[in-house]
Each structure stands twice: as structure tokens, then as C-alpha cells.
């Protein structure tokens, strides 16, 4: 079947199996390998991406279900000149990543947390990220990173608009 969607600002149409997961579509068809798959039960959140402004676990969405949607992955966050998104920047400053496997999903989920609550407490960050598992950091520096990112203001809770990425 045919699916059309905008991925990181680029419109594309592909022929896919109806059962193809969005996570595999992004990785295998679009070649966007930042989005990782860490489980098969929607538990770990490594595959989290933003679809039409909402964070979703792309292992639990069919590519077909995202037909017509705007999808943003980690690769779509930095500015055209390479300027890091506030959440990306904060993860680096606060050492919020180690092996990096949960990171793409964690960054996208953090953006979702900040979209809902621009100035969360530690507890609110922890609750917001409950569906994203990390084995390396003990979450300590991830929580700090999200709170640091919040200081950047409303952009921390937003993904770039399509035209910005295209530029």
C-alpha cells in the first residue's frame, strides 16, 4: 500500500507492507536510524517520535496510521546551521546520555513533557518520562537536562516547523 507523510520536513510517498511498523518505516525505508527499537511491548520508549505534535512510540504505530501526518525524529531537531535544539543542548551540558540508545526517544519524550508543562518539577519530569527507560544514567542527569532545557523557554517544548527544516 502507499503511504505519504512529511518526515522531518520532507514530503515523501512510499509503497509499504500494511503491517510495517512506523519505527521500521523510519529506519529501513527513510534511512533514519536514530530512532531505536529497544523492546516489543511498547515499554521502553526508545522509538519515541513526534507525530502531529504528539509524542508516540513508533513501534506501536503502523506506518499506514501515520499516513498524511507530520513526523519528527531526532534527526529533524537541530537547526539548518546545526544549532542544537534546547533539549539536545541540555542533554549534552548535563551529561544526560551515556550509551545513547534511549537518547533519541528520551529527547523526543522530553520535548513532549515540556510541551505539556513548560516548567516541570523534578517529580513532574520523572512522571512524564516514566514510559522511557534508560539503563545507564539512573535518570538523574536526564531529569536535570529536562529542567535545564525548560529554562530556554517555550522552544524547548516544540519541534521545528516543516519549512524551517527544509531550509
Amino acid at each position: 500500500m502507499k503511504v505519504s507523510m512529511t518526515v522531518n520536513g520532507q514530503q515523501r510517498t512510499d509503497e509499504v507492507e500494511p503491517r510495517l511498523l512506523l519505527a521500521h518505516y523510519l529506519r529501513e525505508v527513510c534511512g533514519l536510524k536514530a530512532t531505536n527499537i529497544g523492546c516489543d511491548t511498547t515499554s521502553c520508549g526508545a522509538c519515541t517520535v513526534v507525530v502531529d505534535g504528539l509524542t508516540v512510540k513508533s513501534c506501536t504505530v503502523l506506518a499506514a496510521q501515520a499516513d498524511g501526518a507530520q513526523v519528527t525524529t531526532l534527526e529533524g531537531l537541530a537547526g539548518p546551521d546545526g544549532e542544537l535544539h534546547p533539549v539536545q543542548r541540555a542533554f549534552r551540558e548535563e551529561h544526560g546520555l551515556q550509551c545513547g540508545f534511549c537518547t533519541p526517544g528520551m529527547v523526543m519524550a522530553a520535548i513532549g513533557v515540556l510541551a505539556d508543562n513548560p516548567d516541570p518539577s523534578d517529580r513532574e519530569v520523572r512522571e512524564g518520562l516514566e514510559g522511557n527507560l534508560c539503563r545507564c544514567t539512573g535518570y538523574h542527569n536526564i531529569v536535570r537536562a529536562v529542567r535545564t532545557a525548560a529554562q530556554a523557554g517555550p522552544t524547548a517544548g516544540q519541534v521545528p516547523q516543516a519549512q524551517e527544516v527544509q531550509a
Partner: protein, 760 residues
């Protein structure tokens, strides 16, 4: 000012945060074009006679290129245990032949054009098993009534030590004994296992796989397949966590290489999480009996630890874990008499291997629970019992009755720092108030002190290689035999080179994990990397400066003794002659400026610390919540506090998870009950507080950096502190011990039982 000891943010991160790391499953490589996908068919039965494997329907399924069963792999010799003490009858066949021995045992493998086709076809492989009774616990195993390997005549894979002398506790005023479980847990690196292999026209195979040391993985794969090691090129891409479970190679990795040879096409394999939770090594899995005896004034006179190690179905590193537990049995204490003994036992479960701490957390958990049990028995504050029995500060080597020789330690100071930072007296006062009020939410305060062994010689030597080259453009390259998978070696090794050469960190590239470029290496495990691999980089920089001085002396017509490093210019200057000098980059213009070196560690090091955990337990539901974790972790000199703290945080989380939540469970028939992340209670952000870190740094004389290992300490210290805290919270209700994980059900039952016993 030296860059060492400063919080340098990671050079790895910009790529990881914008394009993502490149893990094995992410690889795009011409050599892997047209790769087939391997899907393993695994036993769904824990123990049984394998009657038949019918792959005929699978062979007809869409996209299937080949299906291999045991009869298709007869030219592969069984996988040797690699451990001299293991009976030869316990070796593992590549594919189950006459028996299946755990849920997850491989019975067939399917090669398909596409990944999804493999899952479809694997379901069509018909496996006929005549079930046998499953051996699930160490107690079942030790009875030897059902044998996993009948030819071996026993389920005992290895035995260590002797029983304690009968008079071991004679003369003690108080003797306390307790059976306790250090439960089986799953390492769960977020990246599951993955491998890819491609054979070249030159007869060499390139294997990409996720591991903790390319050189060891290569050696194992070559050995298992009977290949000349020169024909194997192993590459370690970025690795999404290991925690010990990715040490060496797994049989699946070698199998992928063999399959690629059979198929004449490259082959890839990436397991699912549900496959990972039965197929990847598990950790811990000890049943322990502790006995501790001493005087009513708190002096401990004798301590005994007897371990039954669950090894799972086939021999892996789990067999030797109890030897590390035994080595560290004396822990931080000056006990006059220490006894330890262990058996390693086969069960119809996933094999046990190393998991963050690997044998040492089990030793610490045993002794720290014992101290609390003893303190409770004599009615003394557990901090006081510890203080009374800790080894006094030492800077000369201290040898314990268990046979370990500690390099340096200040255990009392570590404990006092932790107690002070936690506000121990006020915590006890608050606990008393809550007890007097009969609050539903009671406070528990748990302590641990620990010492562990890092950088131990695990048979491959306590040494590490490094190559350092400065290029004419002013950049430098470090080749290391360590194998980072989150630890930040690219940053830390660059700092070590930069510190001596003045070349900025961002101009130094650190490479690892390619056996053609780096033939020797010990990998990253056992908290060895900085003290051996980092020390090798430091040594390489020192040696490179000497080479540069000789070369510069000729070019500048100066005495080498008059040359000194000028960090500002990243070169050498002539003492007393302002303006005269040459950069390292310039010295590399005519011929390469490169050194290769190997750092040999004289001995392991022994990091130590003390943790204080504060929990609240709801006595009506049994639910324990960790409120605070205060940690003193002394790993000697710290190169990058940001990275060292990150190691501690991650270790704490895994340690807390073992105390409170995580456990791999099997039913009585050996069926795994925790084989997805929906079932396995992997610790999440909501179950943890932010941690309170206290600094302490006692240098070691063992290496020029003064550094000890920090990778596993957090796990080792945190588990018993939290465990003790949960029990402390309900001790006034008569609870003496609760096994880990201290789930609400367990704690609630312990309260009910204690109260019933109290009323009779």
C-alpha cells in the same frame, strides 16, 4: 591548570544527539548489501528430550532461503566451556540435538530475505519435545535427582572451598544465621544483541557485533568456529549498553558468521527484547547462607558465607562469580575469622554471566545484611557495629582472611562522611517519632559500607594497549584496547592525551573496537578501563614526548634535556631561549610521530565507600519508596567528575532496582515469567529519587593516574543500603529479614507473619 579533574562535556554527544549513534543494526555498509536475516527458533520447553525438528513447512514459506537444524550443522564442534573446572560433558551444542535445557535453547535457525519473513517462518518450524521435569532452583539442582547432563553424573558444575570447621563459632556470645537470596536479574542493555557478518573474496570474514571487547570476542569466535584468527576481522560499532552481559561473544554471533559462509551471502541478526530476555545472560542468582558471630559489645569474631550459585543451563562466566564473592567475603571488616564456600549449579534456565559488579555485589549484600542482623540481635545501632568492626585507615597493602590484598582505604571516614551528609541522628529521631505515632508511612534508614575489586586479572592480563599519533595538521589519534559503551572514553582518553600534549580535546580522535587496527585489547569490564586503558594513554603521551624531544633536539640543535613541553603551543620549547620551539604537529611532518605502548598494572585496585538509604514504607500496603540515597564512592583520583558521577548514578539505579523491584522469575516448569519488558519490572524514573553524591578521593599507588574503577561501585553499595533500609522501616513490627526484591507483597507478608508470631 590541568584539564584533568574538570567537567569536560562529551565529544561523543553532538553526533549522538543529532544523527544518533551507529549501533550494529544501524550499519549501512557495502559489504552487507543483500544481507539475509537470521531468526533463531528457540525451545519453548525448559527441559525435555528433543524428538524431532520439522522445518519442511518453514522451508516453503515466503522469503526463506534456508533453515538449519542440528543435523545441518554436524561439522561444527560443540562450544567448549572455556573454564577448566567444568566437566566436559556440560558443553553446549550449537543447536539442541538430543535435549533442550532451557526456554530459549536454540533448536533451528531460519535465513530469510527480509526481517518480518523470518518471524513468520520461525513459527512454522515444528519442534517435538518430550518434557522432562525441570530443575529450576539451586536446591532442586543440588539434589541431583534430575540431571541436565546425565553423562556428567551431577548438576554441580564446579565447587569451591571447604565447609567451615565445626568449632568456627565456638566462644561467640551471639551467633546469627540467615538464609538469603541474591536474586537473578536481567541486565537489559537497551540495545539487544546484534551481529552481522560478511565474507570477503580473500577468505576473511568481517563480523560486526555489539560487545564489550572486540579482541576477546574475535578470539572466542575464531576458536569456536575453528578458524585461523587471522581470517577474522571483528568490528565493534557503537554499543547500546553492556553491563557485563556483552563480555566476549555469544554463540549466536559466531553462528551468524558461519551462516554467512554457508549461504554465500552476508547475514544479519538483531534479536527482539523477548528473545533477549531469555537468550542473553542473566546476572546474580545466588542462594546464600550467612552466619555471623561475636560479642554483645558489638565485636564480630567470625563470619561464614556459603553460596549456591545458579549457573543456568550451560556453563558461562556465572560459574566463577562465586570465587569473586568468596574473595571479597571479608569486605571492609577486620573480622578475625572468615569462611566462604560455594557450589556452581546447573538449572534449566538462561545461563548466568557477569552483571554490573559480578560476584562482588553478592559479597557486599551478604555481609551488610549480616551486620544488620547482628546489630538487631544485640540491640546496637548498625552504624556503631560497623564502626567497631571496620578495618582502620591504611595506606600500606592490607591482606584479608579471604585472600584479597587491598591497596588503600579509609572505610571509617567514608562511613562518617555518609552519615554526616545524610543527617543520620536527625533521621533516627524522625524514625522514632513516626514509630511512636504509629504512622502508616514508616521511615527506614539503611547503611552499607563496601570495598570491591576492580581491574582484576580475569585471565587476559591486567594490562592495556594504547597507540598515540600526532598528525601534521595538529590533530591526534588515540587507539585503545578498551571498549566504551557509554562510559565516555573518547572524551576521557582525549583529556589524558591533551593534559600532557596541549592538543585540544576536540582535536583528538579516539578509536577502538577494530581488531585489524587494534589487535590487542582487554575491553571494558570489571571497572578496568581508566586504571589500565587510561593509564596506557597517559603512558603513551609520556613516551611520545620523549620521542618528540629526540627529534626536536636534532632539528633545533638543542640538548634534549633543555626541551620542555609547552602546552600553549602544543609542542616543545627550549628552556631559557624564548621563542625557540617546535610544535608536535611540525615534528610529524617528515615522519609519523607515533608511539605504541602497553601499560601493565601491578595489581588490582579496591574502591570503597559507604551509602545511606532512606525509604518510606507504607505498613498497610508494604510498598517501599526510596526517598534519598546518599553515597560516598571513593575511586581514587577522578579524571572527569561529570563522567564519574554518571557512572555512579547508573550504578545506583541498577543497585536500587535489585533491592526494590527487579527479578527474573520462572514457574515450577521452568517457564520464564518475565520475558518481556511489560513483565520484567525494569526500574523507571518514577521509582528513583535524584541522588546525593559525596566526594572522597583516596589515590591508589597502583597506577600513575591514582585512579581506581568507578563503573560498578554504585551498584555494589546501593543494593544493601536500600535493602537494609526497607527492613529497618518495619523492624519495630518484628520483621527480621525480607528477601530481595522487597516488593509490597513480600514486605506486607513479612509484617503479617511477624505480627502473628508476636501474638502467639
Amino acid at each position: 591548570m590541568s584539564i584533568l579533574g574538570t567537567r569536560v562535556v562529551r565529544t561523543e554527544d553532538p553526533l549522538f544527539l543529532t544523527r544518533g549513534a551507529t549501533y550494529t543494526d544501524d550499519l549501512v555498509d557495502d559489504r552487507l548489501t543483500g544481507a539475509l536475516h537470521a531468526t533463531f527458533v528457540r525451545s519453548q520447553v525448559a527441559h525435555g528430550r528433543l524428538l524431532s525438528v520439522d522445518a519442511s513447512a518453514a522451508r516453503e514459506a515466503p522469503g526463506v532461503v534456508a533453515v538449519f537444524t542440528a543435523e545441518d550443522c554436524t561439522d561444527l564442534a560443540p562450544i567448549p566451556a572455556g573454564l577448566p573446572m567444568v566437566p566436559p560433558a556440560m558443553i553446549r551444542p550449537w543447536l539442541a540435538t538430543d535435549a533442550v535445557r532451557f526456554v530459549g535453547d536454540i533448536v533451528a535457525v531460519v535465513l530469510t530475505e527480509e526481517r518480518y519473513q523470518g518471524e513468520d517462518a520461525a513459527e512454522l518450524v515444528s519442534v517435538d519435545v518430550d518434557p522432562l521435569p525441570a530443575v529450576v532452583t539451586t536446591a532442586d539442582s543440588a539434589r541431583d535427582e534430575v540431571l541436565l547432563f546425565p553423562e556428567a553424573g551431577t548438576n554441580v558444575m564446579a565447587a569451591f572451598g571447604e565447609p567451615a570447621p565445626e568449632d568456627f563459632f565456638v566462644g561467640c556470645e551471639v551467633v546469627v544465621t540467615q538464609r538469603m537470596v541474591n536474586q537473578r536479574v536481567a541486565p537489559v542493555p537497551l540495545e539487544t544483541r546484534a551481529a552481522a557478518a560478511a565474507w570477503g573474496e580473500d577468505g576473511r570474514v568481517t563480523i560486526w557485533c555489539t560487545n564489550q571487547g572486540a579482541q576477546q570476542a574475535k578470539g572466542e569466535i575464531a576458536g569456536w568456529l575453528g578458524l585461523d584468527p587471522a581470517r577474522v576481522h571483528l568490528v565493534t560499532p557503537d554499543v547500546g549498553g553492556g553491563f557485563g552481559a556483552k563480555i566476549g561473544a555469544d554463540p549466536e554471533y559466531a553462528f551468524v558468521a558461519w551462516l554467512a559462509q554457508q549461504a554465500g551471502r552476508p547475514v544479519r541478526w538483531t534479536e527482539s527484547r523477548s528473545e533477549n530476555l531469555v537468550g542473553m545472560l542473566h546476572g546474580r542468582g545466588q542462594d546464600q547462607v550467612v552466619t555471623i558471630g561475636g560479642r554483645r559489645d558489638g565485636t564480630i569474631e567470625a563470619y561464614s558465607l556459603v553460596v549456591d550459585q545458579d549457573c543456568g543451563a550451560y556453563p558461562r562466566v556465572g560459574i566463577i562469580l562465586p570465587t569473586l564473592t568468596m574473595l571479597m567475603a571479608a569486605a571492609t571488616y577486620a573480622f578475625p575469622k572468615v569462611h566462604a564456600q560455594a557450589r556452581a549449579l546447573a538449572t534449566n534456565t538462561t545461563s548466568i554471566g557477569a552483571y554490573r559488579g559480578a560476584g562482588r555485589p553478592e559479597a557486599t549484600a551478604a555481609v551488610e545484611r549480616s551486620i544488620d542482623l547482628f546489630a538487631a540481635e544485640i540491640g546496637m545501632d548498625p552504624a556503631e557495629v560497623r564502626r567497631k568492626n571496620l578495618v582502620p585507615a591504611f595506606s600500606e597493602p592490607h591482606t584479608t582472611p579471604s585472600g584479597a590484598t587491598y591497596d588503600s582505604g579509609e572505610y571509617v571516614a567514608a562511613l562518617d562522611k555518609a552519615l554526616e551528609a545524610a543527617g543520620y541522628a536527625e533521621l533516627r529521631a524522625e524514625q522514632t517519632r513516626r514509630r511512636e505515632r504509629g504512622d502508616v508511612r514508616q521511615l527506614g534508614i539503611g547503611l552499607s559500607t563496601y570495598v570491591e575489586i576492580t581491574g582484576a586479572d580475569t585471565g587476559l592480563g591486567a594490562a592495556e594497549s594504547a597507540e598515540l599519533e600526532v598528525h601534521p595538521d595538529g590533530t591526534a589519534t588515540v587507539l585503545t584496547g578498551t571498549s566504551p559503551h557509554g562510559q565516555g572514553h573518547a572524551t576521557a582518553w582525549a583529556m589524558l592525551a591533551s593534559d600532557q600534549l596541549g592538543i585540544p580535546v576536540e582535536k583528538i580522535t579516539v578509536l577502538h573496537g577494530d581488531t585489524d587496527r587494534i589487535p590487542r585489547g582487554g575491553g571494558t569490564m570489571g571497572s578496568r578501563s581508566l586504571q589500565q586503558g587510561g593509564a596506557a594513554v597517559h603512558q603513551a603521551a609520556t613516551e611520545l614526548i620523549e620521542v618528540a624531544k629526540q627529534r626536536a633536539a636534532e632539528q633545533l640543535e638543542a640538548d634534549p634535556a633543555d626541551l620542555q613541553v609547552d602546552l600553549t603551543s602544543a609542542g616543545l620549547s627550549v628552556r631559557g631561549t624564548p621563542g625557540a620551539g617546535i610544535t608536535f604537529a611540525q615534528l610529524a611532518e617528515k615522519e609519523p610521530l607515533v608511539v605504541q605502548t602497553r601499560f601493565e598494572a601491578a595489581a588490582p585496585t579496591f574502591p570503597f565507600g559507604a551509602h545511606v538509604a532512606v525509604v518510606e514504607v507504607d505498613v498497610e500496603s508494604g510498598k517501599a519508596e526510596l526517598q534519598r540515597l546518599v553515597a560516598v564512592d571513593d575511586a581514587g583520583v577522578i579524571v572527569n567528575p561529570l563522567l564519574a558521577e554518571g557512572q555512579r548514578h547508573g550504578g545506583f539505579a541498577q543497585g536500587v532496582a535489585q533491592a526494590l523491584l527487579e527479578e527474573v522469575l520462572y514457574d515450577a516448569d521452568g517457564n520464564p515469567q518475565t520475558s518481556t519488558l511489560a513483565d520484567y519490572p525494569f526500574v523507571s524514573a518514577t521509582e528513583l529519587p535524584s541522588f546525593e553524591l559525596v566526594d572522597m578521593a583516596t589515590p591508589t599507588p597502583i597506577n600513575p593516574l591514582g585512579a581506581k574503577g568507578i563503573g560498578e561501585a554504585g551498584t555494589i553499595g546501593s543494593t544493601p543500603a536500600v535493602h537494609n533500609a526497607v527492613i529497618d522501616a518495619v523492624a519495630h513490627l518484628g520483621v527480621r529479614h525480607v528477601d530481595m526484591p522487597t516488593t509490597p507483597m513480600r514486605v506486607w507478608r513479612a509484617i503479617q507473619q511477624a505480627q502473628q508470631e508476636g501474638t502467639h
